[in-house]
Symmetry: C2
Subunit: 264 residues, 2 copies
């Protein structure tokens, strides 16, 4: 396995992907500053229509950045090999995790359609630049994510609840956080909810369903954004015959600058 | 056939649809002021994935407002019967127009997936309200549409050129027209081109490929928007085994207010 780079933020996307292809397995937070990272899910052609429809019907949770043709392993937004150039993959058979690997070349099948889904990493940079603290970045933990009591619009075999990520925001910066993130509709956009976990059916912020808990301090408001785990959870609940996804936090580093996903 | 209403703009969408269901066949321009109208195309499940992918890859030309499940005849944005509640339909077999009818109930098949695609009628109202003349509305003709020399990103079996609509805009209002229409990304959004037909491969503005020519007066600039004919043209070029579409200008009147498609 190659040595981790000393300055991952300064790498170009192709440089980072070469390290991952050579076997480096690492979370990608902080890699390739200014370039968008994406969730990967590759599904058999047969399930791909349901997935694309689920995304179309639930765009805040499932912002599609690109979709490959069946069997393609390169994307318009990712000039690398989707089978090898992410740092880690998970392979699912009949909805069960069967393998975690740094090289999905052997597991990839010719009928797979790969989806690249936007990731809220993209709007965290402008939040931080605006002086809005992002706690889980400060603590070096994973973002806290929760299943809600809101159902997504189903599509074919796919159904499930909206999953949200939560970031505590100082009360006097909530409006700024809304304003800034609403400029990024391709990466979840504006919050879906501000300030009342119970209204979303979240009983205890200290016990997230995915990721790590973060402290909500006095004077801070929990702010909830639609989360890219939503479509993955719906897919896995449908027990797909076959699926390959990135390992959590081990994202696809795209060639697209964050700014491209910013609306004017 | 029912009598045409005396004040079509004042009708609620359900009222207009009841007239169309009863057999009234009329272009829908000017109907149900403030409610969005949509292009309809219904395709076999087998081709639906390619179509949805084509739309995802060419969002300016193919803004998807809603997609039904196979066999569904009602949509989240259209609380009527898609088979009967448009004023006129066209039925295609093996890519050839075989029938034009006011009632597609007999032609509809259980495997059809219906797509409702945004329509630039929605942004013409705010243009006119801002004092920007819309010539083809003034003259009561169809908008002028042109095939361009720009290829869409293909998807599966679907490929074809970008088709644009053109509206002449006074030079001192072009910036306003850009600003206003960019607020409506779900109905084609900002122009794709301003002022140079030759750069799009359009040899003669007086000879549109679809619709009617309009005069471009001294001091006016031709402004080009991506057009919903783009996906229809790509579908028909692929010679689909079966398809049902609205007849040109005879749109689906939805229950969604225009303002819903306006970004903040």
């Amino acid at each position: 396995m190659p040595q981790p780079p000393t300055a991952p933020a300064a790498l170009a996307p192709a440089q980072a992907r070469a390290l991952f292809r050579a076997g480096l397995s690492t979370p990608t937070a902080g890699y390739c500053a200014g370039y968008a990272q994406a969730n990967l899910i590759a599904l058999p052609r047969d399930l791909a229509f349901d997935f694309l429809l689920f995304a179309q019907r639930n765009p805040k949770a499932c912002p599609v950045l690109d979709v490959t043709e069946p069997g393609e392993t390169r994307s318009a937004v990712f000039d690398g090999d989707l089978r090898t150039d992410l740092p880690a993959y998970r392979v699912y058979v009949d909805g069960r995790l069967t393998e975690e690997t740094t090289d999905a070349g052997a597991a990839w099948r010719d009928d797979l359609v790969a989806f690249l889904i936007g990731c809220s990493f993209t709007f965290e940079t402008p939040l931080i630049e605006a002086g809005i603290p992002v706690r889980h970045v400060e603590t070096g933990t994973n973002v806290a994510m929760y299943r809600t009591n809101r159902d997504c619009r189903p599509a074919g075999r796919l159904a499930g609840p909206l999953v949200v990520s939560m970031r505590p925001v100082p009360a006097d910066r909530v409006a700024d956080a809304v304003r800034i993130t609403s400029r990024y509709p391709a990466v979840h956009g504006a919050p879906v909810h501000v300030g009342d976990p119970a209204a979303l059916g979240i009983a205890d912020l200290g016990r997230p369903d995915f990721g790590d808990p973060v402290e909500v301090r006095a004077g801070e408001i929990p702010v909830f954004w639609a989360c890219g785990v939503t479509p993955q959870a719906a897919v896995m609940a449908s027990r797909p015959a076959y699926a390959i996804a990135h390992a959590p936090g081990h994202m696809a580093v795209t060639d697209v600058r964050d700014s491209v996903y910013q609306t004017p």
